[in-house]
C-alpha cells in the first residue's frame, strides 16, 4: 500500500498547489458592485473563456460586459461561466448551474450558435431572458420566446455582400470556408445561394478545418486556377490574416470579401497589416460612429488593448439588459422582455443601431466596408 499512499499524497499536493496558484493569479478586476443596500442585479453569462482560439473572443466579450456593467452605475453582479470553447454540452452545464444554483433570470450569452441552441430548452423552460451577442445562425430565429440577439443573423449580411458583389459586376465567384465553424458555414451557404440567384457563377468552393492546419495554399491554388473575380472567405480574423498573406504570395489578385463582421476589428489589422488593403467585409456599427469609438476608447483605457470581434455587441447586450431590468417591475421575465423590445428600438449602441424584431432578432443597417491603409471606409 506504500505506492498508493505516495500517489494519494502526490495528488493531494497537486490539488493544493493548483488551488494556491489559482488563488494567487485570481483576476482582481472582477466587476465590483457599487455599495448599495439593495440587492444586486445578478446576471449570468456563458462564454468560451478557455479551450481554443475562440476563447480570445470570449474573454474580450467578457471584458466588454464588465465595462457595460461598470458604466451603468447600477449594482450589478455578473457570474461568468466557461463553456471551454464552443462546447454545447459544457454550455448546458453552465446554464444549469446558473439557473438552478445561482438562480439567475437573465443571461448574456452564449457566444456560439450551437451552444445557444443547446441551452434554449432549459432557458425557455425557466423563463430566463437570454441575449446573445454573437450567435448568428439563422436557425436561432424565433426559436425562443425569451431569446434575443444584438447581432444580426448571418443571412442578412451574407445576402447584402452577395448583392454588392453582383452589382459590382463580379461574375465569377469562389468560396473558401472554415467548415468546422457553424456560423461560417451558414454564411457560406447564404452567400452561395444569393450570389448564384443574382446571376453569379460559382467557379470554385474550398474548405478547411481550422483547428488542425493553417496552410491554405493548396486550396487557394485551386481557387486561383479558375481566376475568379471575387473570393468570398468565411473565416475568423486569425485565419483570415493568414489567408490574405498566403493569397498574396500566390499572386492572387481577386477581390476578397470576408463574410463575417469579425473582420472589422483591430485584431485583423494587427495580424494582417498592409495585406488588409482592399479587403471587403460587413460591419454593423459605422466605425466613425461616436458610440462605437467611445466604446473602443473606454475598452482600451480599461483593458490596455483593442476589443475583439463581437465585444461591442456584448457591451450593448449587457447595457440593454441592465436598462430593461431596471425599468421592469421586479425583474419578471415577461416584463424584462417587454422592456427590451421597447428600449431596443432605434437604440444607438456601440455595435450599431439596434431594433429588436418581435422574434428577438435585430435588423441592423449593414455597412459594406473596405480597408484602406488600415482604416475602414465605406466600399463603393
Amino acid at each position: 500500500m506504500n505506492n498508493v499512499k505516495k500517489v494519494v499524497i502526490s495528488i493531494v499536493l497537486v490539488i493544493a498547489l493548483t488551488a494556491v496558484i489559482g488563488y494567487t493569479i485570481r483576476n482582481k478586476s472582477v466587476s465590483k458592485p457599487p455599495s448599495s443596500e439593495s440587492n444586486p442585479i445578478v446576471i449570468g453569462s456563458i462564454l468560451p473563456l478557455t479551450g481554443d482560439y475562440l476563447s480570445v473572443y470570449g474573454v474580450s466579450i467578457k471584458n466588454a460586459i464588465n465595462l457595460a456593467a461598470d458604466e451603468s452605475g447600477a449594482n450589478v453582479k455578473v457570474i461568468f461561466e466557461d463553456e471551454h470553447g464552443c462546447t454545447p454540452a459544457d454550455a448546458v452545464s453552465a446554464a444549469q448551474k446558473l439557473i438552478s444554483i445561482d438562480k439567475v433570470k437573465n443571461i448574456v450569452g452564449t457566444m456560439c450558435s450551437g451552444s445557444s441552441l443547446a441551452i434554449l430548452p432549459i432557458s425557455e423552460e425557466n423563463k430566463v431572458v437570454v441575449i446573445s451577442p454573437s450567435a448568428t445562425s439563422k436557425n436561432l430565429t424565433g426559436k425562443g420566446q425569451y431569446f434575443l440577439r444584438t447581432i444580426a443573423s448571418d443571412a442578412d449580411n451574407s445576402k447584402a455582400l452577395a448583392k454588392y458583389a453582383s452589382e459590382k459586376g463580379y461574375k465569377k465567384g469562389a468560396i473558401l470556408v472554415n467548415s468546422a465553424q457553424d456560423s461560417l458555414v451558414s454564411q457560406k451557404d447564404d452567400i452561395k445561394t444569393t450570389f448564384v440567384d443574382l446571376g453569379g457563377q460559382l467557379v470554385a468552393e474550398e474548405s478547411y478545418i481550422a483547428s488542425s492546419n493553417k496552410d491554405f495554399r493548396s486550396q487557394l491554388t485551386k481557387i486561383w486556377s479558375s481566376k475568379p473575380d471575387v473570393i468570398f472567405v468565411s473565416a475568423l480574423p486569425d485565419d483570415l490574416a493568414l489567408i490574405l498573406k498566403q493569397a498574396n504570395t500566390l499572386g492572387i489578385t481577386s477581390v476578397i470579401i470576408d463574410t463575417d463582421t469579425s473582420a472589422g476589428t483591430q485584431q485583423l489589422i494587427d495580424l494582417a497589416g498592409k495585406l488588409s488593403n482592399g479587403l471587403i467585409f460587413p460591419f454593423n456599427p459605422v466605425p466613425t460612429n461616436k458610440q462605437y469609438t467611445d466604446f473602443v476608447t473606454a475598452y482600451k483605457s480599461k483593458y490596455g488593448e483593442d476589443p475583439s470581434a463581437y465585444a461591442a455587441e456584448g457591451y450593448d447586450a449587457m447595457a440593454l439588459m441592465i436598462k430593461a431590468i431596471l425599468a421592469s417591475k421586479n425583474g419578471a421575465s415577461d416584463d424584462v422582455k417587454k422592456q427590451l423590445l421597447q428600449i431596443g428600438q432605434g437604440y444607438e449602441g456601440a455595435s450599431g443601431v439596434i431594433s429588436f424584431g418581435s422574434n428577438g432578432d435585430v435588423e441592423k443597417p449593414i455597412n459594406i466596408m473596405m480597408y484602406e491603409d488600415g482604416k475602414p471606409i465605406k466600399a463603393e
Partner: protein, 288 residues
C-alpha cells in the same frame, strides 16, 4: 437539485463510455481511440431519426446499435491484426477519418451546423422531458450495461479476454481463436458507446461533430486508465472524477480563464504520476 440531476445524467453517459473502453482496454488489452466515433454514430442515428421521423427513442437506440455493429466489425477486422503500437495509431486514424465524415458530409449530418431540436423520448406514457425522469432512463441503461459487463468478465469468455491481454500468443497456442474474441468484444463495446451516444443526443437536444473528435477519445481513455483498468467500479470513480472536478472548480472562485487550463495541467500531472507509481489506475487490477 436540477444541477445535480444534470451532472448525474452526464456521469451516466460518460460512465457507459468508460465501461465500454475498459472492457476493451482493461480486460482485453487493446488501446482503442476510436470509441468517440461510435459514440457519435449512435448520437447521429438517434438525432436524425428523432428529428426527421416518428421513430421512438428506444427503436432509434436499437437502430444505432444495428448500424454500428457491421461498421465496427469491419473496422475491428482492419485494426486487430496490428501490433499494439500500430493498433493505437490506426484507431486514432479511424477516429480522425470518421470525424471528418461527420463534419464534411454535411448533406447527411449537417456538418458543423449540427442537428438541433432533438426531442426527448416519450415511452410507456412517461414524458422524459423532465430531467429527473431522464436521469432514471440513463441510470437504467447504465445499470443494464454495467451488469452485462460484469457478467461478461465472469464468464469463460471474459477469462479468455484476460489471457489475450496477458499474452496473445500463449492464448493462441491454447487453441483460442483470438481474432474472434477480440472482434466480438470490439463490436460489443462499440455498441455500448453507440447507446451512450443516443442518450447524449436526446438529452442535449443538439449535437455537432466537435463532441466526437480525438479529444473525446482521449478523455474516455483517461477516464478508464485513471479510474482503473479491469475494474468496473474504478471506471465509475474515474468518470466521477473527470466530470465532477471541473464542475467543482466553477465554485472555487478561480478566474474562469485559468480554470480550464489548470484542470488540464492537473489531469496531465495525475496521469504522469499514476503511470510512474500506480500504472493500473486507482482501483485497477491490471498494469498495461
Amino acid at each position: 437539485m436540477e444541477y445535480l440531476i444534470h451532472l448525474a445524467i452526464l456521469l451516466s453517459i460518460y460512465a457507459i463510455l468508460g465501461i465500454s473502453l475498459n472492457l476493451l482496454l482493461g480486460y482485453t488489452g487493446l488501446i482503442s481511440l476510436t470509441h468517440a466515433s461510435f459514440f457519435g454514430m449512435g448520437a447521429y442515428v438517434t438525432a436524425l431519426l428523432l428529428v426527421h421521423t416518428k421513430t421512438s427513442f428506444l427503436l432509434s437506440v436499437l437502430l444505432g446499435v444495428i448500424l454500428v455493429m457491421p461498421i465496427s466489425t469491419f473496422l475491428g477486422m482492419i485494426s486487430d491484426q496490428f501490433n499494439k503500437n500500430d493498433y493505437m495509431l490506426v484507431s486514432l486514424g479511424l477516429n480522425v477519418i470518421i470525424f471528418g465524415l461527420f463534419n464534411n458530409l454535411s448533406n447527411l449530418t449537417n456538418g458543423a451546423l449540427g442537428i438541433s431540436g432533438i426531442p426527448r423520448p416519450v415511452l410507456f406514457n412517461i414524458d422524459f422531458s423532465s430531467n429527473s425522469n431522464y436521469l432514471l432512463l440513463a441510470l437504467v441503461l447504465l445499470l443494464l450495461i454495467y451488469l452485462f459487463s460484469h457478467y461478461i468478465v465472469r464468464t469463460s469468455f471474459g477469462r479468455v479476454l484476460k489471457t489475450i491481454r496477458e499474452d496473445e500468443n500463449v492464448s493462441k497456442s491454447f487453441g483460442f481463436n483470438t481474432r474472434y474474441y477480440k472482434l466480438v468484444i470490439f463490436v460489443i463495446t462499440a455498441s455500448m458507446a453507440a447507446v451512450s451516444g443516443s442518450l447524449y443526443a436526446s438529452y442535449f437536444s443538439y449535437i455537432d461533430p466537435s463532441s466526437f473528435s480525438v479529444t473525446t477519445s482521449m478523455l474516455i481513455l483517461s477516464i478508464t486508465i485513471i479510474g482503473g483498468l479491469a475494474s468496473l467500479p474504478g471506471t465509475l470513480i474515474g468518470t466521477l472524477f473527470f466530470i465532477l472536478f471541473p464542475e467543482l472548480l466553477r465554485f472555487v472562485g478561480i478566474p474562469s480563464e485559468e480554470v480550464f487550463q489548470l484542470r488540464q495541467l492537473m489531469f496531465g500531472l495525475i496521469i504522469v504520476l499514476l503511470m510512474m507509481h500506480r500504472p493500473q489506475g486507482f482501483m485497477g487490477k491490471y498494469k498495461l
